[in-house]
């Protein structure tokens, strides 16, 4: 006599998902337990966990021929999330569970039958919801993620809990939608930064148009403080951005179980010893890197010139495409990576080139080599390059009130509103055709741009990038037309004048 049972789960590659039917056949024959359907090592090991968990939860593991198939069978399945659906299907096939579980099942089993949370619950629940499956059975540790997306979430502590729920012995009630997290207070406020008017304006343009920014200046002039003030002027996350960014964090296992949805834009600041795996992601299975964790937010790379040049060059694809595809022998994973890059560096190895008061001790060739560590293609994608000078003592003593971040943020939000009206989230995303359509220049601006092009200060790529930045400068001024000053700002910030 053979018996087949089915439960439903979901496989994950990067953020790509597919529903998986877990089929279990229990047949007469020598005792045997096999999982087919391209399981990876972690899924293969489910055999040992499931066997022990079923026994230790007080059920009986069949001493018969047990075959598990993960369908569709042609793509590799990763991770430990299939433990719960496999165990439930075995119990169903052997009659120890008399009801068919009717939703998405997800969870890792401990040997004693307890349920452990898994990485990447959020994109999988999102997939189920979009396929019309409204109910999710998940470990307690993943309950918040599933409930935040609006799924009817039943959370279990153990396999025994799950069986008791399905059999109607002790019904679990759906988990409440977790309350939104508090927006954390920003680390730095623009009000606290003295002077630095042009760097501040560059920061504002970067925040509004999602243009990349490079801060160059001697040590101790406030480059890091400026960068850390960026979150205080970034607009709030859109709901769909929040879900996507949270999904990446879910895959990385960085979700706070009680506050699963991100409310503030991520601000990632990896150290300059980061490897390219840490920066763009990788490993088997491919995990998201810092560029993806910064998705919808900002990536701050301090001491930009101290990064390995090869590591910096891996930024080219995410900076251009807004996503990163990590290909490994076992398959490829694509993660979103649309972020504002804020980089900071010293002007030379000793840090004092152009400094007031302290003499630079570097030879010109050494300075050139130092700056050459940032490759041309990477530098070309940084639209705003600004010098952060040492602030004079008189300025430090200046007690006049400075503009707080909240005021700047309002301007940024208003500018984003204008961008949205053109059909794009930010000006950095404008296509070449859209640049042509939306960047109307006043005569004075037209003349400046013509001169810059004639003198070959701008490549074709540079031309469009300058126009996008000028568009943002105009949007911040609530101006439909781009004036000579807007264009001059863009040219000067690109060092392309």
């Amino acid at each position: 006599m053979g018996a087949v049972a089915r439960t439903l789960s979901c496989a994950l590659w990067g953020l790509e998902t597919a529903l998986v039917t877990v089929e279990v056949d229990v047949a007469n024959g020598l005792p045997h337990f096999a999982i087919v359907g391209l399981p990876d090592t972690a899924v293969q090991e489910a055999r040992e966990r499931v066997r022990a968990a079923i026994r230790n939860a007080g059920f009986e593991f069949p001493l018969r021929r047990v075959t598990v198939n993960l369908a569709p069978a042609e793509r590799r399945k990763e991770g430990t999330g299939f433990d719960l659906p496999i165990a439930l299907a075995i119990l169903r096939a052997t009659g120890q569970l008399t009801v068919d579980p009717d939703g998405l099942c997800l969870g890792e089993l401990a040997l004693d039958g307890a349920l452990r949370p898994v990485r990447g619950a959020m994109p999988r629940v999102r997939r189920a919801l979009s396929s019309g499956i409204a109910r999710a059975y998940v470990p307690l540790g993943n309950a918040g993620e599933a409930a935040a997306l609006g799924a009817e979430t039943i959370a279990f502590r153990s396999l025994r809990d799950a069986v008791a729920h399905f059999e109607g012995v002790t019904r679990q009630v759906p988990v409440d939608v977790p309350p939104p997290a508090q927006v954390p207070p920003p680390i730095a406020d623009l009000r606290d930064i003295v002077g630095q008017e042009t760097p501040k304006r560059a920061l504002e343009i970067a925040a509004a148009g999602a243009h990349n920014l490079l801060l160059v200046g001697p040590p101790g002039t406030g480059k890091t403080l400026l960068a850390r003030a960026l979150p205080s002027i970034l607009p709030p996350l859109d709901p769909d951005e929040a879900v996507e960014a949270s999904a990446v964090h879910s895959v990385a296992g960085l979700i706070d179980p009680d506050r699963p949805l991100l409310v503030a834009r991520p601000f990632r600041a990896p150290h300059h010893t980061a490897s390219h795996l840490a920066l763009v992601g990788g490993g088997t299975p491919p995990r998201p890197g810092e560029v993806s964790l910064a998705h919808a937010g900002a990536l701050f790379l301090d001491e930009f010139a101290e990064y390995q040049p090869q590591v910096l060059d891996t930024l080219r694809e995410p900076l251009e495409e807004g996503s990163i595809t990590i290909s490994r022998a076992g398959g490829a994973a694509t993660y979103p990576a649309r972020f504002v890059l804020v980089a900071a560096m010293n002007p030379c190895p000793c840090g004092h080139a152009g400094d007031t008061g302290t003499e630079c001790t570097c030879l010109p060739d050494a300075i050139e080599r130092y700056r050459g560590r940032i490759s041309g293609p990477v530098l070309d994608r940084i639209d705003l390059r600004v010098h952060v000078p040492r602030v004079a003592y008189e300025e430090l003593r200046d007690e006049r009130t400075r503009e707080p971040s909240a005021v700047v943020r309002e301007r940024v939000c208003a500018a984003r509103e204008r961008m949205r009206a053109r059909g794009r989230r930010t000006n950095a995303e404008l296509s070449i055709a859209e640049v042509k359509r939306h960047c109307r220049l006043e005569d004075s601006a037209e003349a400046l741009l013509g001169d810059a092009m004639r003198l070959r200060r701008l490549s074709a790529r540079g031309y469009h990038r300058v126009l996008r930045v000028a568009r943002t400068a105009a949007d911040l001024d609530r101006s439909e037309r781009i004036t000579g000053d807007h264009l001059a700002t863009a040219l000067l910030l690109r060092a392309a004048a």
Binding site: L363, D365, L448
Partner: protein, 280 residues
């Protein structure tokens, strides 16, 4: 690349002042430029923004007056002078302290590009056979060659102990008019040049015009700069905010003006958010 011997036609006559004259003299580029009036602009590798600006302005003005700018293609002042002469449409000659092939094989970055431009817009010259690699002692011979080739020598900026002072001593020995650019008192980078002036070994360089006259050229300096914006940049590059504060201008007014000046070449955007005076 050609090798000229002292008895050859086209061998620079000025070099016969050297005992012994380099034999042969290796030239990569146009040997004819060596026949024209030459001015050497030399100085320290560790230049300050002031030294860089003076070297650029003097070299550009002399190049426009028709002088060939001779220097040693070292980092710092040498490169600034070569680059500025070529940018002003003039010719420039680099005297190397090693074989020309050896130099080109080892040069990197912007200095390599400059060497290539010098081959097209002047010449690379060396007393050493093409493949001889550089040794510390070889540069003394190079410095003497620079002084001998030049009708006048300008030391733009040099601290005590700078190799440029060896060139200055050679110039004095060979009887070449020697000019030194005065620098601020207390600035280490100008102690050597100030000492040259104080001891009477060098004439004070008050601009390119005296130097041009010393080699028999009619000065053709650019019109004097009257823009206060250019004046504000005299002591070194500044960022936009500092410029606006110094000039008392609104940034929105300053920005388009700055872009226009940068596009005209009067101001150079350094690429790090600061602006320097162009060679004008």
């Amino acid at each position: 690349m050609i090798a000229l011997h002292p008895e050859d036609a086209g061998y620079p006559a000025a070099l016969r002042d050297l005992r012994p004259a380099p034999d042969p003299l290796w030239i990569d580029g146009d040997p004819a430029v060596l026949e024209r009036p030459c001015v050497a602009v030399v100085g320290t590798r560790r230049m300050t923004p002031y030294g860089e600006r003076v070297a650029r302005e003097v070299a550009a003005a002399l190049a426009r007056s028709g002088a060939v700018i001779v220097s040693g293609l070292a980092q710092g002042i040498d490169c600034a002078a070569h680059r500025s002469a070529l940018a002003a449409g003039g010719s420039s000659v680099a005297v190397l302290g090693e074989g020309i092939t050896s130099f080109l094989a080892n040069a990197r970055g912007r200095r390599r590009i400059l060497a290539m431009e010098l081959r097209a817009g002047g010449a690379l010259v060396s007393p050493y056979a093409p493949t001889v690699p550089a040794q510390g002692w070889m540069f003394v011979k190079r410095n003497a060659l620079i002084a001998a080739l030049a009708g006048a020598v300008v030391v733009a900026e040099a601290p005590i102990g700078s190799g440029a002072l060896i060139t200055a001593a050679d110039a004095a020995r060979l009887g070449r008019p020697l000019f030194a650019v005065p620098g601020p008192l207390g600035a280490r980078a100008s102690e050597g040049t100030n000492a040259l002036i104080a001891s009477g070994a060098a004439r004070t360089c008050l601009g390119p015009d005296d130097v041009a006259r010393a080699v028999g050229l009619t000065p053709r300096s650019a019109a004097p700069m009257t823009d206060p914006l250019l004046d504000a940049l005299a002591s070194g590059p500044l960022d936009l905010d500092t410029l606006a504060r110094r000039l008392g201008l609104e940034r929105a007014v300053l920005r388009p003006r700055l872009v226009t000046l940068v596009l005209s070449g009067a101001i150079v955007d350094q690429g790090d958010g600061r602006f320097a005076r162009g060679a004008g």
